[in-house]
């Protein structure tokens, strides 16, 4: 984006975009209730529920005790009772505490009820690596995607933070909305994948990937903060004549295989970058689905670049070599370009 294009953009960061979306959805629909640790008085530890308590009061904006198992289950009950709860699990790493309620109740009840019960519930949570070691760094989107019945959304641009939150709240499906800690405090105009955040309420449909950079040489698929890292890497290698097509998945359930497959068919090379763990995860899933669609020998190159099945260490000197970042993505792109 050029300087004069960003000059007129709203001054709003991703967490404010989420908070604004929550505010507008709560105005629009009085059944929307938010609950979780520190969502009220302090407006969320990343500020993504700011201003809600003052406007909507403690019955609709509930600071909970550290009782994730029960307040997540409470969200299920609230949804069954006709409310539209947004339950915040501060960091996605803490989901282990309440996973039972997530996968045995939230995800399964619509099916178990033969479609009679709807589950308009959102789990809002933050993931991603910012130097916070093994218990506060994970992404875990593949864990949720593995459980039938959950929709899994992870926004990248500031604009999508707002639009996808609105979509999650309005959806009749259970949605897990995974923010990235490294993006939340970033201003809309600082995103490489920039775009103004409209002031009025709007919806970004869940399940539609976004081609954020057009290119003919390599298809790079990713989501969340890695979209930013990949933008940086793509810009670096562009100078060397490697033209990357970059796809932001936005959600992994539903997964927009169509968009990915079309691009891969065009470039013949597919790279999946994933900040989640490598094995049994998103990268293999995407590659298999593309090959199922295009045929087993349809592509010249397939590559995965993800966290290599190791807990995230505290020391940055170690984290840097394990978590995909702009430099490592650029390196993989160069290797792919050099290989054929």
């Amino acid at each position: 984006m050029t300087a004069d294009m960003t000059a007129n953009m709203r001054k709003i960061n991703a967490s404010q975009a989420v908070a604004e979306s929550l505010f507008q959805e709560m105005e629009r629909d009085e059944r929307v209730v938010i609950l979780g640790e520190d969502v009220g008085r302090c407006g969320g530890v990343f500020g993504s529920s700011r201003n809600l308590l003052d406007r909507f009061g403690p019955m609709r904006v509930r600071d909970t005790p550290i009782s994730e198992m029960s307040f997540t289950g409470m969200g299920v009950g609230m949804a069954m009772a006709g409310l539209r709860p947004v339950v915040e699990i501060m960091f996605v790493d803490f989901i282990g505490v309440c996973l039972e309620q997530v996968y045995n109740a939230m995800a399964k009840i619509p099916y178990m009820s033969g479609g009679r019960v709807k589950m308009p519930m959102v789990i809002k949570t933050a993931g991603g690596n910012i130097g916070s070691a093994a218990q506060h760094s994970q992404c875990l989107w593949a864990t949720f995607a593995h459980l039938p019945g959950m929709q899994v959304v992870a926004p990248s641009s500031a604009r999508d933070h707002k639009g996808l939150m609105a979509a999650a709240i309005r959806s009749d499906n259970p949605v897990i909305f995974i923010e990235h800690k490294g993006l939340l405090l970033k201003q809309a105009k600082e995103f490489l994948n920039a775009g103004d955040v409209p002031a009025e309420a709007f919806v970004t449909p869940i399940g539609k990937a976004d081609i954020v950079r057009q290119g003919g040489d390599i298809t790079l698929v990713t989501l969340s903060a890695s979209v930013e890292y990949a933008m940086e890497a793509a810009a670096q290698v562009a100078g060397e004549g490697i033209d990357v097509e970059l796809i932001d998945l936005r959600s992994i359930v539903p997964l927009d295989v169509e968009t990915v497959a079309q691009s891969a068919a065009k470039t013949g090379r597919l790279l999946v970058v994933d900040e989640d763990y490598l094995s049994f995860g998103l990268s293999a899933e995407i590659i298999v689905r593309v090959l199922e669609r295009l045929g087993p020998s349809s592509l010249r190159q397939l590559r995965r670049h993800a966290v290599p099945d190791v807990p995230i260490p505290a020391a940055l000197s170690l984290e840097e070599v394990l978590v995909p970042g702009p430099a490592s993505i650029a390196r993989v792109l160069r290797e792919m370009a050099a290989a054929s």
Partner: protein
């Protein structure tokens, strides 16, 4: 028990100097993630140090430095771990929220509510082997609303396990006030519901905490089953270094820091009893000197070698 006043004072002052040295690593980005300090909670660590033996186990929380030091974890290795160095207690893999020292039966967790179950495991082992040791599971007031609190005290009491549940009630779980999410005035009163021994103490009066901790430890060590000690205190700094902390009134913070500072309180007490001000000053200066020299030394240590990033996932080094 005869209290050695000067030692107790020195222990608290060294704890504080340790955390103050750690704080220096935050603005310089040597320490990543949310560093939680225990400034204002020194009396509790100092009291624990008086009653624990090498084989007793302690399982702590995200706010764990004082508990580690009280358990005898070597300060240099702990600080080096907090500074993410290869020389650290866990080779820089764990970091400030996840120090593990099997030699001292000490560990911690960054997940609220996850300390008590692990302590229960140590307690079970002691009972199984008929050993005269106790396991101390530490948690904050916030963690007492976690299901594990109930589950662990119930199991410990049902099976007569040597578990001491130590609650540091600093009145807040990040921004959430204890009184907003708990209907009872405190936590110690819950002990009766489990058949455990419960006690509440002013956690900023160090001599009282020493006595109270010794009492619960003795009860549990003698085979009485679990005990629950609630030590009331106040978190002097933000939840983590960098926390805006605008959920607590400035006036409240000023008043509480003045009233609930265990070191200042004890100092006044000792001076009233005749201690020389400059002897106390020297203790403070020596502790600060010790910790800043330690930090300066640790700063020269190497960061973990990236070549070892995949080591230790499994027992076999590949």
């Amino acid at each position: 028990m005869k209290l050695n006043e000067i030692n107790l004072f020195r222990t608290m002052v060294r704890l504080r100097a340790f955390d103050e040295a750690c704080i220096e690593g935050v603005p310089t980005f040597e320490i990543h993630g949310e560093l939680h300090t225990s400034i204002g909670q020194e009396a509790i660590g100092a009291a624990m140090a008086q009653s624990l033996t090498l084989h007793d186990a302690v399982v702590s929380t995200h706010r764990n430095h004082y508990h580690a030091l009280a358990k005898g974890v070597p300060p240099r290795a702990l600080m080096a771990e907090i500074f993410e160095k290869e020389t650290g207690l866990c080779r820089g893999r764990g970091g400030h929220m996840h120090p593990f020292d099997p030699e001292h039966n000490f560990s911690a967790t960054g997940i609220v509510g996850a300390s008590l179950p692990v302590a229960l495991g140590y307690a079970y082992n002691f009972k199984l082997k008929g050993l005269p040791y106790i396991a101390v599971g530490i948690c904050g007031d916030g963690a007492t609303n976690h299901g594990t609190f109930h589950e662990c005290l119930n199991m410990a009491a049902a099976w007569g396990l040597p578990l001491v549940c130590l609650v540091e009630n600093n009145q807040y779980a990040i921004s959430v006030r204890f009184s907003d999410v708990t209907a009872t005035p405190g936590i110690a009163e819950r002990a009766a519901a489990y058949g455990a021994f419960g006690r509440r103490v002013d956690g900023t009066d160090v001599e009282e905490v020493v006595k109270a901790f010794a009492e619960v430890a003795r009860y549990t060590r003698k085979g009485g089953g679990p005990s629950l000690l609630e030590a009331t205190c106040y978190r002097h700094r933000g939840h983590y270094e960098g926390d805006h902390d605008n959920y607590r009134e400035r006036a409240e913070k000023q008043r509480m820091r003045a009233e609930m500072d265990p070191i200042a309180r004890y100092r006044r007490m000792l001076v009233e009893r005749g201690a020389a001000e400059d002897e106390l000053d020297q203790i403070v200066a020596a502790a600060k000197g010790e910790m800043s020299a330690m930090l300066a030394d640790i700063r020269k240590d190497a960061m973990p070698d990236p070549a070892g990033a995949m080591d230790h996932v499994f027992a076999e080094v590949v």
